[in-house]
Symmetry: C2
Subunit: 407 residues, 2 copies
């Protein structure tokens, strides 16, 4: 176990963040992950990091606040902390974010409070998030099991056993058991790059998604850029922003989305699960929302601002992936989004259009990109998903067949 | 147990910080204390706090840094975080600091690294600490057992049992078992105030400490102010800065300390224990240092700056106190200093001289107060300690006899 934890930590520090000599590594982690965070810190120092600064968060404490603080408290955020993150980003720190908290933790909380708190936090961190959205700095999202998350996936096991089983799945999804995990990742990134190159060379006009529960046409803007695997930050350092990652993604034309889609995985948003929801689009904007559970939370999410009524990301993920082959639903977007074709509500990554990282929000909108305070992925892929792409000359190319890559 | 934890939390929030409606409470705590911190948060919201902001620290992670980071890393501190604390203090937040980490954690760390890190941290937090040193805001230091600390005190018990026993001692020291703990504290504070009044009315010229191992004359500056129990912050809110607290204290005349003293409790400084040390003073300055263990750490502490070569606090504590009556050494200054007469190396509290909270450092020095980046308490009291005070007219008054108050 200790060996695998060290291997995983090394993957995050080397393949994920590609930490550089004398760099500052900033880790954002739940307190339950402390033991693993210390292993990451050791690996980072071994790779030459100058300092590892950790900001711990306590979700149980957040619950105490949600249930007991006056409503006004949720309208404020700690601006000085957001400014500190911005400053560290401006000094070229690398950012590791650890997920893995209880998917149901906030299910009894007034959605109004969560929405208000999310808005305040998103606003306070807007400048910092430009650094990650635009890939100016290296950043990586990874997971560590919390007791509650593990029990959600393996409810019949003891807590210790559930955690052990979840670690096993995380190791599988991240290729930790491979003889040479660092080499396996390099190879995996190469394969994703081939898909990216094919899609970029074709510059498709639109994608038509069709399955039993989805029928959606998504237009792509001129000069859109597909990406996947990793990317280069402003200092020309290659990093991988999600581990695991199986997706290749770009941005949709903001006003070019028509039809409907149905989610295929539960969406864990702010400690609430949203299940089996259907969104209908007209000229990009959501005009109808249904959900089996979590409808109120979903509506609040869509109402964050104007941009959260539109899509900001189109991502292709084969059904046949190491993650999906674990046979479990993770109730955690980092995994579930990499097991399934997905979209995101909210902001597009500016890097998904040529020259976008140098554009203002107004320029991005002019080019057809969506802007918003939020960016939330959700899953639509299934075994019966077919995607047909159309070129500008009208030629049609099937790119997904029965849930998997068709080429 | 849960009930006692809630009572203790309530004491800290009400008698310690005296939290006000819509106030921000800032908690600084080790991650091991998370469970108790959540109880404190609940109590604070019940008392009307608007928000409870917690900064968690991870001492094990600090150890990883001490052992693995390059030396240059210790010359820097997170200035943005210190600035954030200053900002919250300027907005009249209340500050709770939780102690209780492993007294031996850093015993194998190069003292040079610890000294460098302490200096950088003290410098970065200098402006914030003016708020607490000058009692501008409410603040309170309290303790929560960590597994390592509990095992240090009760090495023969299992970890769970050791923690339980340490909680019991903390509850005793804090009068948690009393029928009406809040009322008991009010009464205790009243008793301390009587001692304070007697000492202030007498305005002694000097104190002569005498025991088998100590022979020291400490002069007191003109217009010195004794305090004890609690005090009023800038908003006229009464708070108690240490829980437990048994001391009454003032400042010495910086250049008026002559003779020698010997420590009577181990001093836990930065994860290192300093045992049985002897300091010799001439005109206030330390001219000789000896220690059975931890000499290097002690020397580094004294070398922090010029002011750390002088005393900054004189505190009287009876030998017969609830803390001493627990019969254990806590290896934690919060408890041990309240079981024994003590001094502090470094800065005097400006409030220990009339009008001091409005004076600049230069003015304080002119009045005979010591200034320094640091302030570290250490214990000298013992069962055979006698203290004779001398008035300006030469009259002598015995104020301590055989370790306890003589009046």
């Amino acid at each position: 176990m200790q060996k695998n934890l060290e291997k995983y930590a090394k993957l995050l520090v080397r393949n994920g963040l590609n930490i550089q000599k004398d760099q500052l590594l900033v880790v954002n982690a739940p307190i339950e992950a402390a033991e693993f965070v210390r292993i990451v810190a050791k690996q980072a120092y071994d790779e030459g990091a100058k300092n590892v600064h950790v900001e711990y968060r306590d979700e149980e404490l957040a619950l105490v606040k949600y249930l007991n603080a006056p409503f006004e408290a949720f309208k404020e955020a700690m601006q000085w902390k957001a400014d500190g993150f911005e400053q560290m980003a401006s000094e070229n720190a690398a950012f590791l974010s650890i997920t893995g908290t209880d998917p149901d933790l906030f299910k009894n909380v007034d959605p109004e409070r969560i929405a208000e708190a999310n808005k305040a936090n998103l606003k306070s961190t807007e400048k910092f998030r430009k650094y990650t959205l635009n890939s100016k700095v290296s950043w990586c999202v990874a997971a560590v099991p919390s007791p509650a998350w593990a029990k959600k996936i393996f409810p019949d096991e003891t807590t210790d056993k559930a955690i052990e089983k979840l670690w096993d799945k995380i190791f599988i999804a991240n290729r930790v058991y491979d003889e040479d995990p660092v080499g396996s990742w390099d190879n995996h990134i190469k394969n994703l790059t081939e898909k990216v190159d094919f899609l970029n060379n074709n510059q498709f006009k639109s994608l038509h998604y069709k399955s039993a529960k989805t029928d959606l046409v998504v237009e792509l803007p001129k000069n859109h850029v597909w990406a996947g695997g990793g990317e280069y930050n402003e200092s020309n350092v290659y990093f991988v922003a999600n581990m695991p990652t199986e997706e290749v993604y770009t941005m949709p034309l903001k006003t070019g989305v028509n039809g409907y889609l149905t989610s295929t995985f539960p969406l864990n948003y702010s400690g609430n699960l949203i299940n089996n929801f259907k969104l209908t689009f007209k000229d990009g904007r959501i005009i109808e929302v249904e959900a089996e559970t979590g409808l109120e939370t979903l509506k609040k999410l869509i109402d964050t601002d104007e941009g959260s009524h539109y899509l900001g990301e189109v991502a292709l993920v084969p059904y046949d992936s190491p993650i999906n082959n674990t046979g479990i639903v993770f109730y955690n977007t980092l995994f579930d989004e990499n097991a399934s074709c997905h979209f995101a509500l909210g902001a597009a990554y500016p890097t998904s259009i040529e020259g976008g990282d140098k554009m203002t929000d107004e320029e991005l909108e002019q080019k057809g990109a969506n802007t918003s305070l939020t960016h939330v992925d959700f899953m639509v892929g299934s075994k019966d998903m077919n995607i047909v792409a159309t070129k500008h000359d009208g030629t049609k190319v099937q790119i997904f067949k029965d849930g998997d890559w068709a080429f």
